[in-house]
Amino acid sequence: MTNQLEAAVLVAVLFGAGLYLCLSRRLLRVLFGFLMVSNAANLVLIAISGDPTGKRAAVVGADAPAGVVPVDPLPQALILTAIVIGFAVAAYLTVLVYRLYTDRGTANVTTLFNCETPGGAAAKEDAT
């Protein structure tokens, strides 16, 4: 495999920024953090496929130039699966954040875990 420093740096930055956002108090930032972390993982997979410059696709017709190395197709199959799963999880997380907001009237983790009386739509229902 060729030296792919730029891919490694990109993955490191995305993972770091994503984790920082996941540790944030605000739920929307957690959501964005998760999106960044999962895309960083996807980037790891695509980087393993190899440096694409000068390589041909894994499956080509008979007229392809001889002597050119093909790209490893397996990581691309893996990444497709991972993207689909990541999408489903992101959808779930979005719904959960929205639900927490409607339940408790806040999208901030500190108020979410500190106030004992819910202040959102559910509390209003209880009151009536």
Binding site: S38, V44, L45, Y92
Partner: protein, 515 residues
Amino acid sequence: MRFFETPANLAALPVIFPILIGLISLLMPRPSVWRRVIAAVASAALLAHACWIVWHSMDSGPLVLRVGGWLSPYGIVLVADTLAGIMLALSAFTALSCLLFGYAETETREEHPLRIPLLLFLLGGINLTFVTGDLFNLFVAFEVMLLSSYGLMTLESGARESRQALPYLTLNLVGSALFLAVAGFAYSLLGTLNFAEMIVRTDALAGDYRLTLLAVLMLLVFGLKAGLFPLYQWLPGSYSQMPAPMSAFYAGMLTKVGVYVLIRIFGTVLPPSLTELHTLIAWTAGLTMVIGVLGAVGQMRVQTILSYHIVSQIGFMALAIGLFTPFAITAAIFYIIHHIIVKSALFLVGGSIAKLNGTDDLSRTGGLWRAAPWLGIAFVLQAMSLAGLPPLSGFWGKFMIIQEGFTQGEWVLIALSLVASILTLMSMLKIWLGAFWKAAPEGTPIHASTRTRVMTAVIVAMAAMSLYIGFGAEKFVRIAAHAAEETLNRAGYVANVNAANETSYPSKTPGASKP
């Protein structure tokens, strides 16, 4: 049927069957008695099938299925060996008990319509983690399992509890992304994700620092799923907030999936020469035991106390993995068998207490010894078993682990595990005194009914099962020893998977067999 012509196809059944039944129950959108019966019969059938897998793999070796007929290092393989069979049997047993308990606890028409389908999907995902022989497929199995578990966790929670899903979700999301990256690193390092092929190639890399790094990352990912120190904080809050039968299933199975994968990865896939990592596992396990049990001291709710004890018990299993001899792995597997049944039963006891007293806060419960003596007897048996008193099942597990610790001279770890056991006993006494022995506080009615009696019957059946494990320990230790031997026999694993390449599967058009 064509499906049954190849016996290896039966290795896929524990995955396909629950998902199929889950889909069928989705087609019946309203909760009905029929749906309940189908789900219970399905998990009973899975239990029987898993017992057959254990018998078959002890008798004539594991079942190996090449999915889609692809040759082994290229396609996905499913391997149902003794360890996988034991775990499949436990998951089916726990699912069956929790379903029956749930049936007794809630009326049919009050049941959430998505509870049974999601539980069955969860079961399918869990079972796939047990039978898979491929690292990326393991990732997919984890995701199937986790997505169902996220759904199930928030399904019936009110405004107060739904926030507890957040730490569970966030931590598992990061863990999943890390797992995906680890799978990528493994592929770039080894060029394969097939367990059998990974075994061959890691042997060639033994002593390479990159392999150690990969193993550390795997420990991080699976330690997170198992709830090892210091990655356990998500567990107590989230497990204690669910309805009792669901939290019992989670408590029994989900963290043990992490322990199973640790055994599989460190026992089978990675070479046994990674001794520094085994020491690391043993010491984190020691800390997990004590910190988990200390967390339980200040808690007043039954389910929260029990949740902290899961963390502590995970420490015992991980300690056995860290000691890493065939005897220690036997102890770990036996401990898993004992723990899953005892832990789910205790969570169900917690659910019964909440149903009888209207709360499971120990300052407001009481009087149950008089009102529900059978529940009390089942609780005492399971609690003493959890603490490790002879001759109950927990004693044998702890005895084997401590014996192995003596053999290896790990005095500090033995001391930690004994301290954890004594503190466990104290916690169990606290529940006993708070819920059963002391009189009910003024004005607390005890809601005993036919429903609570059926719930107690389910728990008593589970207690009887764990009594059987305690008194018939020799039989279970023999099965566990066989499973441990098979798990540590890496060459044998490769040989079994490669042997599956020799078998040809019947194809629809005769003569045109698949590669």
